[in-house]
């Protein structure tokens, strides 16, 4: 075995070094350098200006709106995603493949189009616009529109993460629980959820990252009211267009920092998943041995 594998990788030393260097250079050039540049520019005129650009009222309101949007989008998509994944992985029904396609729709539709869809529905000239105006309900150019657009764009992450996981795990443990007399809810809380918790957390992290970073869809429905309907990505664009580079990159660095934090949490979760999977594999193996 070891002979075969070592022969397979036994390229000349210079080839290995060259390829590795190329790969590392690529990563540095396209990932690390731009990231470093964001922080470099953000701090280019000192700490004080950096802190000021994040605490000035418009930036602060953009930060709050971004967190608020994520606080709506993430729990909503958590519930939708778990329900959809459970239905798809555990049941056979008519139109199932249609439902799966529907879940993927937000991935294939351009975010700008997603935003325009909501304009077409809820805008003053849209289908529901006149009725909404009559009843004084604000959707587009207000927080509800931003939340809706974000929920749409981040819709697939949790379900897409859970479906393959639940399909791979199969329904054996749940059936066992049912046979032993557990109710539907008990089975869900005690068996289904614990089995998928790390995958679920992974989906939530991805949802959160996208919810905070979304630009296109939100840009269409936001109306760009400063201090009111600007999220961090929109605020970054505005500052950049106003030649306020320190402010733009300070906010960008905040987003980048949130993204890095997300990645660290994601890696931790992946590590946990791998451990959990190894453990459950051991358990089944032991169980099989015991029953044999």
């Amino acid at each position: 075995m070891s002979d075969v594998s070592s022969r397979a990788t036994a390229e000349a030393a210079w080839v290995r070094v060259a390829l590795t260097t190329l790969a590392l250079a690529f990563v540095a050039l396209f990932l690390l350098v731009p990231l470093a540049a964001v922080f470099w520019e953000a701090f280019s005129k000192g700490w004080q200006l950096y802190v000021d650009s994040l605490t000035e009222p418009e930036a602060w309101s953009a930060i709050k709106l971004t967190l608020l949007t994520a606080a709506f989008a993430v729990p909503l998509n958590l519930v939708f995603g778990v329900a959809a994944a459970w239905a798809i992985a555990r049941f056979e029904f008519r139109g199932k493949s249609f439902l799966v396609t529907l879940i993927d729709l937000p991935f294939s539709v351009s975010p700008v189009v997603a935003g325009l869809m909501y304009m077409l529905l809820f805008g003053a000239q849209g289908w529901l616009g006149p009725w909404l105006a009559e009843h004084d309900v604000k959707i587009v150019f207000a927080v509800p529109g931003i939340v809706l657009a974000t929920v749409f764009v981040t819709f697939p992450f949790v379900a897409r993460e859970l479906i393959p996981l639940m399909q791979a795990q199969g329904a054996d443990e749940e059936q066992a629980a049912m046979v032993l007399g557990a109710s539907g809810w008990q089975t869900f809380w005690r068996v289904t959820l614990p089995n998928v918790k790390w995958g679920l957390l992974y989906g939530v992290i991805l949802t959160n990252a996208r919810a905070m970073g979304e630009f296109g869809a939100v840009s269409v429905v936001s109306g760009h009211i400063r201090g009111e309907t600007n999220t961090i990505p929109l605020h970054v664009e505005i500052l950049y267009n106003e030649y306020n580079f320190v402010g733009a990159f300070a906010c960008a660095s905040l987003l980048a920092f949130l993204a890095l934090l997300t990645l660290v949490v994601k890696s931790l979760v992946e590590w946990k998943i791998a451990r959990a999977q190894a453990a459950s594999l051991n358990r089944t193996r032991e169980a099989r041995l015991a029953s044999a």
Binding site: L68, A71, P75, G123, F141, H224, I238, N241, E242
Partner: protein
């Protein structure tokens, strides 16, 4: 389960933070007006509070002018709209948001201040660009935003057309030829005035940027006068910046009085002074006299004088299949 309180904590924290004020106005404006309204809004707030005792909060929304007008049509609740050409406000009149005679409700056809289209060249003017004719020379790269999407680009196009028409022996055919040759020298059409400036300044593309005087002066101010020179052509177009009250919104919100005061104060000495400080040419004679040194006299024409009206110019030149499309397709 333990996650729940954590998830909703930010919501609770945010619930109590909405700032309270007596009246809130939303001013929907175009891209490059931020600097002006940043200075003007506090001025208005103080004056209005001194007069009526009411506190007013003014919110700003900026973007490409036509896009902003469309947002208002789509339901963005603007109390006032401040644009760089009348057609964007006419659009609102067409949709019934304000009356068709909106321009006559305020002085000077509702135009508190003007700008003109000028040239920004690199320091020392290496390509010796002095007037419109120099822009069509082979080898000169001209940066202009897209006239289809940007008011700034439209003014440039109409300025080039109008001045060609007014040359000795000028004719429609010669004007068309001149503008075709000008756009042949444009390497990239950016979607808005600010994007064109970024192309010229940050990406260092082009020999000359054709843009509004206030934008050119802003560049000189932000990036230092060491890098650029402003060149004034002999004849230019008068860029009129109309403002209007959006009746449907102010009547619904009950903000007509404050919104009207907000716009009228633009014509006050203080408002006009802020305009002049932001390199917008004031209407007020005293203020204009005081700041005369910073605005070199340039002969200008109004869009309505040369093209009949903004609506006519839009229809002939910038509609789908209009003259601009014909010229640019041939490029």
């Amino acid at each position: 389960m333990k996650l729940r309180p954590l998830l909703f904590a930010p919501l609770l924290a945010l619930a109590g933070t909405a700032a309270h004020a007596d009246v809130t106005l939303l001013n929907v404006s175009y891209d490059v007006m931020r600097d002006f309204y940043k200075d003007y809004n506090p001025l208005f707030q103080q004056a209005y509070q001194a007069k009526t005792g009411e506190r007013v909060t003014v919110q700003q929304s900026h973007g490409g002018s036509s896009k902003q007008a469309l947002s208002v049509v789509g339901g963005l609740a603007a109390d006032v709209i401040t644009m760089n050409q009348a057609t964007d406000i006419d659009l609102l009149a067409d949709k019934g948001l304000l009356p068709a005679n909106w321009a006559r409700r305020l002085p000077n056809d509702s135009v508190p201040f003007n700008s003109i289209t000028v040239f920004l060249v690199r320091k020392g003017n290496p390509k010796a660009i002095r007037d419109w004719n120099d822009l069509v020379r082979p080898g000169v790269q001209v940066i202009v935003p897209n006239p289809k999407t940007s008011g700034n680009g439209r003014y440039t196009y109409l300025a080039a057309w109008g001045q060609a028409l007014r040359q000795p022996g000028g004719s429609e055919a010669k004007a068309r030829d001149f503008v075709s040759r000008l756009f042949r020298n444009v390497p990239v059409l950016d979607s808005g005035g600010r994007a064109a400036t970024t192309t010229f300044i940050q990406r260092q593309v082009g020999d000359v940027l054709v843009t509004f005087e206030n934008e050119a002066e802003m560049v000189a101010r932000e990036f230092g006068r060491g890098g650029f020179d402003v060149v004034y052509p002999k004849l230019s177009v008068l860029a009129e910046n109309p403002v209007a009250l959006v009746d449907k919104v102010v009547d619904k919100k009950g903000t007509r009085q404050a919104a009207d005061a907000y716009l009228r104060q633009l014509w006050s000495v203080e408002g006009q002074t802020v305009a002049a400080q932001n390199y917008l040419r004031p209407q007020h004679p005293q203020v204009a006299a005081r700041y005369a040194a910073q605005f070199p006299p340039v002969k200008t024409f109004r869009v309505a004088e040369v093209f009949g009206s903004w609506r006519a110019a839009m229809k002939t030149h910038f509609a789908d299949g209009g003259v601009f499309d014909q010229i640019y397709a041939k490029k």
